[in-house]
Each structure stands twice: as structure tokens, then as C-alpha cells.
């Protein structure tokens, strides 16, 4: 999956919605609580924007294990969340990969190099096995994946993570820039500046470079 504009837009929207949702209960919360709320919004938004993949289901499942996340997840996901069967779906289609995992484990414990599981020629070897285990723990839902799915889901997950970082970075840059300009011109209402910001954000997705260019071209405000 290429991180598409539509994914980034869907992610941004979903995240902002989520932040607003949690803002209601977190205006007076501790710094840590507010940070966790933002992170939760970002992760749920990423999963929702991507749709149904093994890792997105795994991510929602692991997020729902924590008590403080449940009401947020319930609100955002609604009916989807109430049906646990959907969340555990990734564990349904595994008969084949279970055999593969079992074989790989036997390989590890017996150290018989001539046992080869299907699709495992890339992953033969103890170091590779070890690191595969690490990767399985890093990718949500990875523990129950066969080698091929793991590679596929990893690629997808990493792409989405990149986009998540990119969008959050852009949001922060834009918000910081807006604050900075307001400080320089604190008393006056500045509809022009507001409009400028909205226009800038609006064309976010036309070019990635557009944002950097516009920020550098912005006229310096004089008091």
C-alpha cells in the first residue's frame, strides 16, 4: 500500500475527531493523561483510516485490553467494537500458519536444519528466527501470523506508521506556526492571517513541499 493522500486525509480527520472527543474528559487531566489521549486518538485513527487488515485488528485488540481505552473505543467504533468476534477475526484463518509456526518452533528446539517449513527459505536460521519473533511482537497481531503474512503486514504497517508521523508532524508545525504568528500580533484580530493558515492547510495535500515553501515565504509581521 502506498500511503495515499486519501489515507492521510482520513487519518487526520479521524484523529482530530478523536482528540475533540477525548478533550471533553481531559481538559483538566494530567499531562500524561492528555498525552495518552492524543496517542490513542492517533492510533485508532490510523487503524480506522486503513480499514481491515490483520495489524489494524490486532492494534484495536491490544488497545482494548486497557481499561481506560474502552469507552473511547466504544464511542468511536460503535457496533464494530461490541462484536468481539470481529476483533479476533485474525485468529480464525490460521490453520495453515499454525502448522508453519509449530514446525518452526520444532526446528528451533531440535535444531534440525533439514526441516523446512513452506515459505521459510528466506527465514531459515536461528538469528533470523529470533529477529522474526521480535518483529512479531512489534507488529500488532503479529504473534499469530505466518511468515508471509508477517512480511506483508509489516510493509503495510510501516507505511501507515510513516504517514502517521508525517501528518502529526505537519499538524504540529502548522499549529506552532499559527501560535507564533499570533504572539507577534497579539492584540489585533487578524482575519487575514487566519485565512492564510486555512488556505495553507487546505493545500497541504497538493504538494508536500507546498507547506515548507509557504512557511518560508510568509511575510514577517511587524508590530
Amino acid at each position: 500500500m502506498q500511503a495515499t493522500k486519501s489515507f492521510e486525509q482520513a487519518f487526520l480527520k479521524q484523529m482530530l475527531l478523536g482528540i475533540q472527543l477525548s478533550a471533553v474528559s481531559h481538559t483538566t487531566g494530567s499531562l500524561q493523561e492528555r498525552k495518552s489521549a492524543i496517542k490513542l486518538s492517533a492510533d485508532v485513527a490510523m487503524a480506522v483510516a486503513r480499514g481491515s487488515k490483520k495489524w489494524t485488528r490486532g492494534l484495536i485488540a491490544s488497545l482494548s485490553k486497557e481499561e481506560q481505552n474502552r469507552s473511547f473505543l466504544q464511542f468511536v467504533l460503535g457496533k464494530e467494537f461490541e462484536r468481539p468476534a470481529k476483533i479476533c477475526h485474525s485468529s480464525w484463518k490460521i490453520p495453515r500458519s499454525k502448522n508453519i509456526v509449530r514446525r518452526s518452533l520444532r526446528f528451533l528446539s531440535k535444531r534440525q536444519s533439514n526441516i523446512r517449513a513452506p515459505n521459510s527459505s528466506v527465514l531459515a536460521g536461528t538469528l533470523v528466527e529470533k529477529r522474526t519473533q521480535v518483529l512479531k511482537r512489534l507488529v500488532p497481531g503479529g504473534e499469530s501470523m505466518d511468515a508471509f503474512s508477517l512480511l506483508d503486514e509489516t510493509l503495510d504497517y510501516a507505511t501507515c506508521l510513516q504517514a502517521q508521523v508525517d501528518v502529526m508532524q505537519k499538524l504540529m508545525t502548522t499549529l506552532e506556526a499559527s501560535k507564533h504568528s499570533r504572539r507577534a500580533d497579539s492584540d489585533a484580530q487578524c482575519p487575514k492571517e487566519k485565512f492564510h493558515l486555512l488556505a495553507m492547510v487546505g493545500s497541504w495535500y497538493s504538494t508536500r513541499k507546498g507547506l515548507r515553501k509557504r512557511l518560508s515565504k510568509r511575510p514577517k509581521l511587524t508590530l
Binding site: L12, T154, Q169, L175, S178, C190
Partner: protein, 85 residues
């Protein structure tokens, strides 16, 4: 397991591996040559961990900015307009 099936899977695995390599910042810079499976896995894990750290850090900074936003500010208006679009 028929050999025909595993041959197709090998191609697909190779395709995935090269896509993954082009995604990773380090192997992308180095360009040529195939990294070993072990190296690829290590760099993939490192990359995912670093992206997670970035998200964590950005969540920190965003929560600081958003906390100081009031509903009449330019930022809040921007957020509202983003949601409307």
C-alpha cells in the same frame, strides 16, 4: 506442498522483501545489493521502533499545544475547518 505453489510464493516473498528494503531509510540509502534476511529484519524492527518513538514524542508536543488552545483561537478554527472539509 507442491513445488509449483512454493515457487509462486518465493516470487511473492522476494517482491515483498524488495518493497520492504526500499521503505527502510538505511537500506534505501545504501542502494544496491541484497541485505541478508537477518539484517533486513533487524533494520525493519529498528525502523518500526523509531517510528513509534516519533509518534510518542509528537503526541507529547501536540498535547502541549492543544492544551493551550482556546475555542476562539486561530488553531481551533483551523481544526474545525479541517473537520468540515
Amino acid at each position: 506442498m507442491s513445488s509449483r505453489r512454493s515457487r509462486v510464493s518465493e516470487e511473492e516473498i522476494n517482491r515483498l522483501v524488495s518493497k520492504l528494503q526500499s521503505l527502510l531509510p538505511e537500506t534505501r540509502q545504501r542502494g544496491a545489493g541484497r541485505a541478508s534476511a537477518a539484517k533486513l529484519l533487524k533494520e525493519t524492527c529498528n525502523y518500526i521502533r523509531s517510528l513509534n518513538r516519533d509518534v510518542d514524542d509528537l503526541s507529547d508536543r501536540l498535547s502541549a499545544i492543544i492544551a493551550t488552545m482556546d475555542s476562539s483561537s486561530a488553531e481551533a478554527e483551523m481544526v474545525r475547518s479541517l473537520l468540515r472539509s
